[in-house]
């Protein structure tokens, strides 16, 4: 079984993220097994509950939440990058972190990379 892992390094207000979401959804619809999405660098901002994009613009965060709910798509954020981007991950309830996302480390990226047949970065 071919498996796919995706690395997102672009922020929620980047047009590149739109492409990434379209790509991921197309893969899911066609039955490709996506074992996880890893958010690194500015990509971690997708998990920031304090980000609000104007309502007439593309809602990347909502789209990730939807894909997570519809396909049980695992969404991992890098803890070091998250802390650097104002997303406190050390509290028990992690209220700054969007609940669709799992706080992980770079070790998770190693695991996804070794398990996946293909790794694609946006």
């Amino acid at each position: 079984m071919k498996t796919l892992a995706v690395v997102i390094t672009t922020p929620p207000y980047s047009p590149l993220t739109t492409t990434a979401i379209a790509y991921v959804e197309a893969a899911l619809v066609s039955g490709i097994d996506i074992i996880g999405i890893f958010f690194y660098q500015d990509g971690v901002l997708h998990a920031n509950n304090d980000i609000h994009i104007a309502s007439d613009e593309y809602q990347a965060i909502e789209q990730w939440q939807r894909l997570h709910q519809e396909y049980q798509l695992p969404l991992h954020i890098c803890i070091t990058a998250a802390e650097k981007h104002g997303i406190a991950c050390d509290s028990i309830d992690n209220e700054k972190v969007n609940e669709a996302f799992t706080v992980s480390g770079l070790g998770e990226l190693v695991e996804l990379t070794t398990k996946a047949s293909r790794l694609v970065q946006f």
Binding site: V7, T9, T80, A81, V110, Q121
Partner: protein, 132 residues
């Protein structure tokens, strides 16, 4: 049988490893440091990782730089730890050096300078690629 032999002959040897392409200058963004963090994690998990330096990324290897002059943490010093992480395959694009009139005075040893075609071929031996 013949077809299988032919197929094997034309396919490049596959290393089951990760290639990280460094394409940005060291101190104007965090891309170099972010790429380094990934390389060291893969090294500490004993996974194969190779480093490729291309474009302005070649500046990360040039000797006698000091990030502290810019109040930037000098992550380039950590490159000297690569051998402890078994990171041994470090490739630099010869054309990128030439375009910037840079010599091969690197701050770490065992760096392989490759012409574009061979640089691409070395990259092609990896299963996964990340670019920073």
């Amino acid at each position: 049988m013949t077809t299988i032999d032919e197929k094997e002959a034309i396919s490049l040897p596959q290393e089951n490893g990760l290639a990280i392409i460094n394409s940005k200058a060291p101190f104007s963004s965090t891309h170099g440091k972010d790429a380094l963090d990934i390389a060291l994690i893969f090294g500490s998990f004993e996974q194969n990782v190779s480093l490729f330096f291309q474009g302005d990324g070649v500046y990360q290897l040039i000797a006698q730089q000091d990030g502290s002059l810019l109040s930037v943490k000098d992550y380039l010093k950590t490159f000297s730890a690569f051998e402890f992480y078994d990171i041994e395959d470090i490739y630099v694009c010869q054309q990128s050096l030439a375009n910037r009139q840079l010599g091969e005075n690197f701050h770490i040893s065992d760096v392989q300078v490759l012409p574009s075609i061979e640089f691409g071929a070395a990259l092609n031996r990896h299963q996964h690629v990340l670019r920073f």
